[in-house]
């Protein structure tokens, strides 16, 4: 990822459900090498905002643009430059972790997969079916799957869910190291994770 610089920009994002306004006119921009936290109570629209930023959902109003600054070009479809995960992104129960990884990426190198598995303490469990995983292991696999293709923009919805204290520590040190070269966007209510972020907004 070295040398590649991306920028993600939200302009006037507004989300409505019927007449209920969830959030209104959000503007912010973020470049690789920085991190951004979205906090707020349950139901304040954190997950929806992240889905919009990841291009999974369209906002009621406003737009999200992605740009490759190193080449000075706007990118329309950016599915390969975004890694997204959240509580609703479930790996296949009947596949092993490694099979899920190969499904999520056709081009990740063996060395990268091994180092990610090692980093999240899943080495030795990669041939187990997800059905037999604990919820904490599943959560760690989610983060591996999101960052597998080494995307310049990493969008994580509640990455600390189901993790114990040591899991959270691993996660924080991992996020700290990747935010040097990636744009990391987090939705979280965890104080320690919030400290990782350079900037942030509070919804609701």
């Amino acid at each position: 990822m070295t040398g590649v610089r991306y920028r993600i920009e939200a302009r006037g994002l507004t989300q409505r459900f019927g007449r209920n306004v969830i959030f209104k006119n959000l503007n912010f921009a973020l470049e690789t090498g920085s991190s951004f936290c979205i906090t707020g109570a349950n139901g304040s629209g954190k997950s929806t905002l992240l889905k919009i930023l990841a291009g999974i959902q369209a906002p009621s109003d406003g737009s999200v643009t992605y740009a490759d600054i190193s080449r000075g070009a706007l990118i329309k479809e950016c599915s390969s430059c975004i890694g997204y995960t959240g509580p609703l992104v479930n790996p296949y129960d009947d596949l092993t972790a490694l099979e899920n990884i190969y499904f999520a990426s056709g081009r990740a190198e063996k060395s990268r997969i091994d180092s990610l598995l090692k980093c999240f303490h899943l080495t030795g469990h990669e041939d187990k079916k997800i059905r037999h995983y604990s919820s904490g292991m599943k959560q760690r696999l989610r983060i591996i799957l999101a960052d597998l293709n080494d995307p310049p923009i990493l969008i994580l919805d509640e990455p600390g869910t189901n993790l114990d204290e040591s899991g959270r520590r691993i996660l924080r040190s991992y996020l700290d190291s990747v935010s040097v070269e990636k744009a990391v966007i987090l939705a979280t209510n965890d104080r320690d994770e919030e400290k990782l972020c350079g900037r942030g907004i509070r919804l609701g």
Partner: protein, 226 residues
């Protein structure tokens, strides 16, 4: 507004069509007064086709109108389909009465009868799908997609299938709707009746869409009060 003119014209056209159908138009040579059912059967069938076409067009418009500049197109398509269904059932009933009088049995499975059954099945499926999707925010998109898919395959049925079928069974080329030797007064009555039923359709659809708008407003007021 065009729709107001159409609705006003209904109050003139419909009584006129009924009077003409029963009093002014001559009875046919062989069928006698039974033939007067044509002034109701043909317009009913025409309106059902029109209503189904309108619901298909509205569905396609709904899928392409991503920003929802026109509100509730999918529900309007549903309204039009409901009217189409009612008119199609009436057309089937009047048609089978007529078939009984001309061909001696209520049902012959001739190509037109077959295609109306398929159309009815398609719309029954569409209504089932809509009810299965109650409360789902994907209801409009999925219902509309099904309607478009169904309409696209309809030509295969209406035009191609009977021909292949006929090549196997030439005796089934019976067109119960063929109406030879319509004189001018009959033609005039039929035309007026078609206009009358079309304005009736526009009237009902307009009413249903207004009721829909009111229901939506009430729903929003209710939620806004929360």
């Amino acid at each position: 507004m065009l729709i107001r003119q159409v609705i006003k014209s209904f109050y003139i056209l419909m009584p006129l069509a009924i009077l003409m159908a029963f009093l002014w138009a001559p009875s046919a040579e062989i069928l006698g007064d039974f033939s007067r059912i044509i002034y109701f059967h043909v317009p009913l069938a025409w309106v059902s086709v029109l209503a189904f076409l309108v619901s298909g067009v509205l569905s396609a418009a709904y899928l392409f109108d991503k920003k929802q500049r026109y509100p509730w197109l999918d529900e309007k398509a549903f309204n039009s389909a409901s009217i189409g269904m009612a008119f199609a059932l009436l057309a089937v009933i009047t048609g089978s009465l007529w078939a009984k009088l001309t061909w001696g049995s209520f049902w012959n499975w001739d190509p037109r009868e077959t295609s109306i059954v398929v159309i009815l099945l398609i719309y029954i499926a569409y209504f089932s799908l809509r009810s299965a999707l109650a409360g789902n925010d994907r209801r409009g998109v999925i219902g509309s997609s099904y309607l478009i898919l169904a309409m696209m395959t309809l030509p295969f049925f209406v035009f191609l299938a009977p021909r292949i079928y006929d090549s196997l069974h030439p005796e089934t080329i019976i067109n119960a709707d063929r109406t030879p030797h319509l004189d001018d007064r009959m033609r005039m009555t039929l035309l007026i009746s078609i206009f009358a039923f079309t304005s009736l359709y526009a009237y009902i659809l307009h009413l249903m869409n207004r009721a829909l708008a009111v229901a939506k407003r009430l729903e929003e007021e209710y939620h806004a009060a929360d």
